[in-house]
Amino acid sequence: MTKQKMFLRMITASLIRRRSRMIVALLAISVGAAILSGLVTIYYDVPRQMGAQFRNYGANMILVSSGDGKDFDVTAMNEAVSHISPESFLGATPYRYETVRIHDQPVVTAGTDIKSAGITSPYWHIEGAWPAEGEALVGKTEAEHLGLKTGSSFTMSYADESNEKEPVERDMVVSGILETGGSEEDYIYIEMSDLESIAGSGDLDVAELSISASQEELTAAADSITSADNGVSARLVKRVTQSESTVLTKLQALVFIVTAVVLVLTMICVATTMTAVVTERRKEIGLRKSLGASDRSIIVEFMGEGLLLGCIGGLAGALLGFVFAEFVSVNVFSSSIRFQPLLLPVTMIVSVAVTGLACLMPVRSAIDIDPALVLKGE
């Protein structure tokens, strides 16, 4: 039997014979490793997942005409959107405001893409339904002012500013009343094609973009859109971007500190457990020494045992941690978590290091003792 084989045999035999004690140690290491991998995964994923929640605040970038005479239409908007990485891009909504007459009163009406308006302004409360073609979403204040209710119909007429042509008229149906608590309540929203059918084609006034990205990425995207010089200039909605980065930084710091505190305490727990397990075996160490084992061979054997435990525990814990992180992510954010492959080796190395250190200290103190004293039980 070779030396290595004997070494392996001693380690595995000791693990198997002292099964219950080893399971206790293994459990401690696995839980520690699970906490490490789970919390670190969550820590890395929090900005992304929370960022998605923050998109509830609506658009964080707006596009306006740069005022150099170039057309600012939907094509120009889509061209500008192509500067943004598709992963972080959520939606872009064009708005074109025109004053139309309803019951002979001037009302500001916005032509837009209703479907993407729902994405860039998730906070819109609608009583009724989102409008289809030929239907209109009427702001709450405006609805009260004009006496409109869901289902009622009205005639919209548009006259050119110069008043040269006859006004164009069109019948619309109110599909829903819009409530936001903001200035949107003063307007009527219809599909862009409906507005073009009475007002002809024209430039957009503004386009709202919702992008899930950090402040630096947003600034870079805005710069690249503006410098592309296609008649579009991009501006960040400061109120949203600045506040978002403040709150997100705080949240990430919170998870970071919590992770750090939990980790330190867990490591100490793992270390004390390992220390207790090794201290118990002082008698065994004494016996071996009296049989002529060198200090080195005893340290190597105990360390081998500890490292094996650390490896198995670390692996099991890392996987357990990912399961936990996934559980948290699905329950809290209802989306899957991003797997950090690097975390698997890191978790294993940390748990091996902690168990190794935890074993080393008691073994060291044990071999310093005279075997005769230990065996005598003093």
Partner: protein, 429 residues
């Protein structure tokens, strides 16, 4: 005997106490932070500005719709004298900031030209004395946290000493008229004109960039609307809406008396709005959906996240304690063997071991509780810059947890000890 165990075996006992303390401190810290995190994050979310706007009941939309010069004179207004009432409602404590607004069209003239602009009157950091005797400072300074002051500084009514009335100018106007901080500009309306000192230039990224903000009384005088306001913005700490709140928001009259009381006494945005309407004559307070809804969603997610992390750390600390208690009880097999050999009954042995472990556990738990509270404070100070409130009901939770965990840790070990045969143990096998 127990005293003896403690004096003679103090090293082992300290080990148990230390582990229990560590586990307890972890549990205490996490529970305290979890309970308080909603409040803290709610405070942070206030950087998004007001979540309630108050306007007169028959708010005239003439101004923005028809773009009539000088605003709509026939419109309705709120009364400035009633502003302090906002801090007297049931949820007054939850009102973080508020600021009144009045605006008028005006012509601004500087050295380099003239421009038509909107002049907004408001409070910057107004010192307010309430009918209740309390005082507070409130105004747009804390409601417009996203404003970048590119030149000069925030205007402060309390510290400003110049002779001209102060104002802050939006970046858009400052650029077109090349106005700098420290300049004197003249604004005139149909009711008169006033020389204003430019205290600062701000950039807001929205329409306010083309507006001038001056103190409330200046604009009231310029628009001949003494003591009148066109709107109030209120920033309040709120609880995320649930079904009851949605039902109540539509019509508070549809609730039963019990439901009404629950709703009125919960800080839903709709109930705070309702209470503001009660104290401000002829007003409509409505939630700013953009802010109120998002706050609710983010608060809920953060809370849930912290609950799950807390559960994980509780499980972790419980397992740690159990492990160590098991390990250290089992170490004492020879002592137990001796006890049994001289005739101790199983019950007496179990009672002895349990009492020892429990006393150690309780000592550890008390130390751990305070250490954990310290950890919670560290988290609070580093992340939010404010201390975490001490929640008393964390104590019973932690106590039950520690007792359960220590018992669970000792039971399997005791069962093993009882199965020992004294002769074998004493023989050293």
């Amino acid at each position: 005997m127990i005293k003896g165990a403690f004096t003679r075996q103090w090293k082992k006992m300290i080990m148990i106490a230390l582990t229990v303390a560590l586990g307890t401190s972890l549990a205490t810290a996490m529970l305290n932070v979890m309970m308080d995190v909603s409040d803290k994050v709610n405070q942070e979310l206030k950087t998004y500005g007001a979540n309630i706007t108050v306007v007169p009941k028959s708010a005239s939309v003439m101004d923005s719709l028809y773009e009539i010069e000088n605003g709509a004179d026939d419109g309705a207004y709120l009364k400035e004298s009633e502003l302090g009432n906002i801090k007297t409602i049931f949820w007054a404590f939850n009102i973080v900031d508020f600021a009144p607004f009045i605006d008028t069209k005006a012509t601004v003239s500087a050295d380099s030209g003239e421009k038509e602009i909107t002049l907004v009157g408001t409070w910057f950091d107004h010192h307010l004395e309430l009918p209740t005797g309390e005082t507070l400072n409130t105004g747009v300074r804390s409601l417009r946290t996203w404003w970048d002051i590119s030149e000069g500084d925030w205007l402060s009514e309390q510290t400003y000493t110049g002779t001209e009335k102060p104002c802050m100018v939006g970046e858009g106007i400052a650029k077109t008229l090349s106005v700098k901080s420290g300049d004197i500009i003249t604004v005139s309306t149909t009711h008169g004109s006033e020389r204003l000192y430019v205290a600062g230039i701000f950039s807001s990224g929205d329409t306010a960039d083309d507006e001038i903000y001056a103190s409330l009384d200046t604009v009231q005088a310029l628009s001949d609307k003494d003591g009148l306001l066109s709107s109030i913005e209120v920033s309040a700490l709120t609880t995320p809406d649930n079904e009851l709140a949605i039902k109540a928001a539509k019509d508070p009259g549809s609730l039963t008396i019990a439901q009404y009381e629950t709703w009125y006494c919960t800080a839903y945005v709709s109930s705070i709005c309702y209470q503001i309407q009660e104290v401000i004559t002829d007003s409509v307070a409505s939630p700013v959906r953009q802010v109120a809804d998002s706050e609710g969603a983010i608060l809920e997610k953060t809370h849930l996240l912290m609950v799950l992390i807390t559960i994980l750390s509780l499980v972790g600390s419980a397992l740690g304690i159990t492990n160590l208690v098991t390990a250290s009880v089992m170490e004492r097999s020879s002592e137990i063997g001796l006890l049994k050999a001289i005739g101790a009954k199983n019950g007496a042995v179990s009672a002895l071991v349990l009492t020892e472990v429990m006393i150690t556990g309780i000592v550890g738990a008390v130390i751990g509780y305070f250490a954990g509270f310290g950890f919670a404070q560290i988290i609070g100070q580093t992340v939010f810059g404010s201390s975490i409130e001490m929640k008393l009901f964390v104590i019973p939770i932690v106590a039950v947890l520690v007792i359960a965990v220590v018992l669970a840790g000792s039971l399997p070990a005791i069962r093993m000890l009882l199965r020992l045969r004294p002769a074998e143990v004493l023989h050293g096998r």
